[in-house]
């Protein structure tokens, strides 16, 4: 008996690598690591995003056999949104991976200074440091298609009806996570508040009080702001939305950033959440060809990890995950075309991400029509400024509630210039891309 078990173990141990080997040898491949967080306090928001990212790449491998014959290996390294684990994962993946997707502002801050040394591009779509827009300073970091400062500017435009001076005398509360991520837009809000004469009231929510925001909402009730803007994440969003319902704050005056648009959070309140809006650079469209292909090749084939009973396939976050992987793969494709090579390395991918062109035609070709606004990056501009739509919760799902908005460039760019310079000075000697003439 003992011998039998022993020989079984030996056979399994020997055959496992053998079974995997032929596939690995037959094809060229690149490793695309993702610092995922399917565990921990932010898992609820992480899981649909990670699933979307994973399924898009699986779909490409199934449908097209990869990208121009290059197999794409999507690999997750679990961080639990913990910066310590994030650094560990970064060290683990930087040797083989051609990209770093840090997935948390904290981890982004840790890996950003190392990007110049390790020469691995950081892709942080729609998050990270807003000043990463300045591609000359942050050569290796990308945050397409819109930054938090873009988002802040677009929200203000939308609530003011396109004219910020109409906000004069109004009171805007800013409910945010007390964390680098939540504080990110404060400088811009303060600047605009001073220019346009509205009063700006930041209300922080500590990491430990995310689920219980009664103190914050008591303050909101007392101050009676004309609008509440929210920079929340994970459990904080559900907490804020239920608390807003409880205190009967008018939902049509409550607006969130794109990370505060998780369908599951609003399903908790259902009808009562009607009127809640969130700015978003992505829009879910389950009928788009790319989504249909994912359904056909991945979901229906039983390879996806999504929760179909909850309808995760239609969620804003799941489909945003798809778009994030789409940007990454497009970067690889641009690099392939430019360098005339099949296997792209980190340096070439950097060039690719710097020359993304998501115009109407290309978005249609990719099968993502109406899911993402057109944008393009350059060596000077690593964000691309796609603009965004306002999404509104209609009681069961998010629907588009505005035309495409675009941020006021002047105040944002000014702030980007100041902050990028400050960062480079604080981290001197910091190499700046001199070749970029844009």
């Amino acid at each position: 008996m003992r011998n039998l078990v022993k020989s079984l173990i030996v056979t399994v141990a020997l055959s496992a690598p053998l079974a995997a080997a032929p596939g690995a040898l037959a094809q060229d491949a690149v490793s695309l690591p993702n610092l995922s967080y399917r565990t921990g306090p932010f898992a609820a928001t992480g899981i649909p995003l990670m699933n979307g990212q994973r399924d898009y790449i699986l779909m490409l491998n199934e449908r097209d056999g990869g990208l121009n014959g290059l197999r794409l290996d999507y690999e997750e390294c679990e961080t639990g949104y913990n910066t310590e684990k994030g650094v560990e994962c970064y060290e683990k993946t930087k040797a083989t991976g051609i990209v770093t997707q840090p997935w948390s502002t904290g981890i982004t801050l840790q890996v950003l200074p190392k990007s110049n040394v390790d020469k691995v591009p950081i892709l942080a779509p729609g998050y990270g440091f807003s000043a990463m827009q300045d591609g000359k300073t942050f050569q290796w970091a990308f945050n397409p298609p819109a930054s938090y400062w873009d988002g802040a500017s677009m929200i203000l435009q939308n609530i003011s009806g396109g004219d910020l001076s109409s906000l004069k005398g109004k009171k805007i509360a800013f409910l945010h996570l007390d964390h680098p991520y939540g504080k990110e837009p404060i400088p811009l809000f303060e600047k605009l508040a001073a220019e346009h004469g509205f009063s700006f009231l930041p209300i922080p929510v500590g990491l430990t009080e995310m689920q219980n925001q009664s103190a914050q909402w008591l303050q909101i009730r007392r101050e009676r702001p004309d609008f509440v803007l929210m920079w929340g994440w994970g459990a904080m969003n559900a907490g804020a939305i239920t608390e807003a319902v409880k205190t009967k704050y008018p939902m049509n005056q409550f607006i969130g950033i794109w990370w505060a648009a998780l369908d599951a959070d609003l399903k908790l309140v259902g009808e009562q959440g009607k009127g809640y809006r969130a700015i978003s650079w992505s829009y879910p469209n389950a009928d788009a060809p790319v989504m249909q292909d994912i359904k056909k090749y991945v979901v229906d084939a039983g390879k996806s990890m999504i929760n179909q009973a909850e309808g995760e396939f239609d969620w804003v976050f799941y489909q945003r995950g798809v778009l994030i992987s789409m940007m990454l793969v497009e970067g690889i494709k641009v690099a392939q075309d430019h360098f005339g090579t099949k296997v792209v390395n980190a340096e070439q991918l950097r060039w690719g991400l710097e020359n993304l062109k998501f115009d109407e035609a290309r978005i249609k070709e990719l099968g993502a029509e109406g899911m993402i606004p057109p944008f393009s990056t350059s060596c000077a501009n690593h964000t691309g400024h796609s603009g965004a739509w306002m999404l509104e919760w209609d009681g069961t799902k998010f629907v588009k509630a505005s035309d495409l908005l675009s941020a006021d460039r002047a105040p944002v760019d000014e702030l980007v210039g100041i902050e990028a310079k400050k960062y480079a000075e604080a981290n001197a000697p910091w190499p700046v891309n001199e070749e970029c003439k844009l």
Binding site: A20, E88, T105
Partner: protein, 358 residues
């Protein structure tokens, strides 16, 4: 056999009270130091340095600081994370205000800031004990983290409200910041940890250490034999917070590279406390063993399925990891409630007798 002490005669009191009354202990330590100073640097890759060796050393140092307070002087503290933060922020301010300051000096000085804060929050220990004191140090934890968040001067008004470690040279070699090599940082940390450990061993074995132990075992009795309780307790807070502050500065400058305020929140304090408790309160060796168990083991475990080629999703590995490490902690505490250091002591005693148990 291996640990035969027959034939090692002590002919003087000094010899009997030497650090290593048994020769084999000295050899063992020599072997470990050889491993740390020569073998690891020759064999380790960057991942091993940054994810295993450096964090283990830094956490050991932090646990050592806490152990002096809790294990030797018997004052329970839940504010370790915040005191580490004080060390880190102080070091950051020193380095940015005086850019030409040697980093070693800056780290040594930043310990004094956290020592001062530690003494201030240690004052309640003169009136209260045990769990009540733990609550008072918990207040330090909350207050200091709040201060780190609100006082923008501490981060030089950075937009991201975080410390970013600049590139710092020492004698022409970059020791901190993004361009620093992992091996340099390892040697730097190893040097500091060895020096502080040597100091801690000497303090705890000497007069001051005995005063602390007597206060821990029964403070009324200690007072009756003429020990000044105030001096004893506050000196324990001072030394402990100093070491913790140095560990905090190393934590950010030689390892993390960037830090935001909530890094120093309660989870960090608990982590260090667990290392100290599982390693063994009232021992120096225990801190290192505890740090290996709590910091290094999860990292090693998470690489096992991949190395074996098992197709397990990384998130599942993470969950398994938590379960395995949790089970190990419980097992160790059941087998030996006094911690890993005690575990080693038992093994050593058995080895001395082996193979003749009588």
């Amino acid at each position: 056999m291996l640990y035969r002490i027959a034939g090692q005669y002590k002919t003087s009191y000094e010899a009997d009270h030497a650090l290593f009354p048994v020769k084999q202990d000295a050899w063992l330590l020599g072997a470990i130091l050889l491993l740390a100073f020569v073998v690891f640097p020759l064999t380790a890759n960057e991942f091993a340095f940054r994810a295993l060796l450096i964090p283990v050393l830094i956490y050991s140092l932090a646990a050592l600081g806490l152990n002096i307070l809790t294990g030797y002087a018997g004052q329970l503290s839940l504010g370790t994370g915040a005191f580490m933060g004080v060390g880190a922020y102080a070091c950051y301010k020193l380095v940015t205000i005086f850019p030409e300051l040697n980093l070693l000096v800056a780290i040594a000085l930043s310990g004094f800031f956290s020592a001062a804060v530690g003494v201030a929050f240690g004052l309640p220990s003169l009136r209260i004990k045990g769990f009540y004191l733990a609550i008072a140090t918990l207040a330090a934890q909350f207050f200091l983290v709040w201060l780190f968040q609100k006082w923008a001067w501490l981060t030089n008004y950075s937009a991201s409200v975080a410390i970013h470690v600049p590139n710092i040279d020492m004698f022409g070699i970059t020791v901190a910041g993004p361009t620093a090599k992992a091996i340099t940082q390892y040697y730097f940390v190893l040097g500091v940890v060895c020096a502080v450990t040597w100091l801690a061993i000497n303090i705890t074995r000497g007069r001051i250490g005995r005063i602390w132990k007597s206060v821990r075992d029964m403070d009324i009795a200690a007072e009756l034999v003429g020990i000044n309780l105030m001096k004893a307790k506050l000196s324990a807070f001072f030394v402990s917070s100093y070491i913790v502050g140095v560990a905090g500065a190393l934590f950010v400058f030689l390892w993390r590279g960037a830090a935001e305020a909530n890094l120093f929140d309660i989870p960090l304090s608990f982590r260090v406390l667990f290392i100290a408790i599982i390693g063994g309160l009232g021992s120096i060796l225990g801190n290192f063993l505890g740090a290996i168990l709590i910091v290094a083991l999860p990292v090693l475990l998470s690489t096992v399925p991949h190395a074996l080629g098992l197709p397990i999703a990384p998130s599942t590995v993470e969950q398994l990891n938590v379960m395995i490490v949790g089970a190990l902690i419980v097992t160790f505490l059941i087998v030996e409630p006094h911690g890993l250091a005690r575990f080693w002591a038992v093994i050593r005693e058995k080895l001395i007798l082996w193979p003749f148990p009588h």
